[in-house]
Amino acid sequence: MSVTVTTSVFEGPFDLLLHLITREEVDIYAVTLSDIVDAYITELERMESLDLEVATEFLLIAATLIELKARRLLPGSAELELDDELLFEERDLLLARLLECKTFKDAAAALAALRRDAARSVARRAGPEEPFASMAPDPLERTGLERFLAAARRAFTPRESVQLSLHHVAPIRASVRDAIDGVLAAIPETGAVTFRQLTAGITDRIEIVVRFLAVLELYKRGMVELDQADALGSLSISRSDGDSDALDLTGLDEWDADVDLVDGEEDLEIDLDGADARDGDEISLEALADADTTVRET
């Protein structure tokens, strides 16, 4: 099976979507969801035959996008309300994943910059001159039989089968609602707190993202003021003037993305040397295209 893939495909579905959304930075409002969905599907169609592993995530995200688009094209439509909650969860998660993707993209760029700087210096590697050079014991001698055997064990252990999650989202236990409580508790009555302070000690980046969403939600509700001096500067958060102490949490249902997906999780195991998995190699995009058409006709 030979797969011809573009770079963007290999970089993954979040990269692709992020790229599509952010490429026209000039006027952010010029980019509509419709444009994004179309562009995304076009990219997918360019992948002629897809490796099952590569395709799944792309298709799941395409499905979410199409759902979102359908929802948008039918504003206020009653039939869709049942699915709304699920859809909101999906889009919040998608947003969280995109933010996460962007975070690591920027982190990778920072690593690349460090590496470029480091590459300007060359370390001394000449080692000692004679007679010291020949005094040094052989590296293998220092290794010892035990470490050699441990390496042999590793070398001959079959590689793990690949776990392919059918969900395009990882189990997330953080809830925006909980995070809102946490954020509110952390903002002083007077003065401001920075986002970094708010997330101090949190190592799981999805938690950080959820905290971020919580801050945004509070901002939307006019409960906090945000201040960011420059684009990459630190974000400071303070209570809004005239902030009434009563927080109406009822309206938060929409955001109650307590998205613990463990229950619904179905993992597809593909054994690397199993032949069965290969039957699904070619994934037709017709189903997706149909869905898209339906939306358009509506």
């Binding site: 990778a108 690593l111 395009h168």
Partner: protein
């Protein structure tokens, strides 16, 4: 401030010149039979000497140890001379996966794949082969997935003394503007322009 110990400094200079990799201060302390803090002080004094004398090399602290390396200002000449060590650069996906391992370690292949949204088999193989990541343990949960972490070579490659020298991940959490852009595009409920634009189901 203590007086400088020239004999200690000379011994350190000789040892570092003979080493092929960064030497930890504790190793030198043991060999030279002095407290570790004195070794560190001596290294700093030497480093300052070289800087003020505008030597063409520096004494750098990398991956937990000290080593001689060329002064970055002279990269131009050194590059002309040394071709070795100029590893092929990492691809974008490989670099992003490396960033995830660096910040999330220990991390399994499946966790990595979940964040990247794609299979990471070949990327992990590349990073292992380059020696930037290694197995650091097994997940105690079901499946006992291999967990990966970054190596000394990774620190040396980036010129870092320790993982604590990585810029904090919080620095890279997207700014408000970016979040709004993503939100507006995906959620689109706030912007009236957007809703207006949605009304004719135009043909792409």
């Amino acid at each position: 401030m203590e007086p400088r110990d020239t004999e200690l400094e000379r011994a350190i200079e000789a040892i570092l010149m003979a080493s092929t990799e960064p030497v930890e201060p504790s190793t030198m302390a043991q060999l030279l039979e002095v407290p570790r803090t004195r070794v560190e002080a001596a290294c700093e004094a030497l480093s300052a000497d070289y800087a003020s004398a505008r030597r063409g090399f520096v004494l750098a602290r990398v991956a937990g140890g000290f080593r001689y390396q060329t002064h970055p200002e002279l990269a131009e000449f050194v590059e002309r001379f040394v071709l070795e060590g100029q590893h092929a650069r990492l691809s974008g996906p490989a670099l992003e996966s490396l960033a995830i391992v660096a910040y999330k370690q220990p991390v399994s292949r499946a966790q990595l794949a979940a964040i990247r949204g794609v299979n990471v088999e070949s990327v992990v193989a590349t990073l292992l082969e380059r020696g930037y990541i290694e197995e650091v343990g097994r997940d105690p949960g079901p499946g006992n997935a291999v967990l990966y972490g970054t190596t000394r070579a990774f620190l040396e490659h980036l010129g870092l003394n320790s993982l604590a020298d990585l810029p904090p991940l919080a620095e890279f959490v997207p700014g408000l503007e970016m979040v709004e852009m993503l939100e507006n595009t995906l959620l689109g409920t706030l912007d009236p322009l957007e809703e207006a634009a949605a009304e004719p189901p135009s043909e792409g």
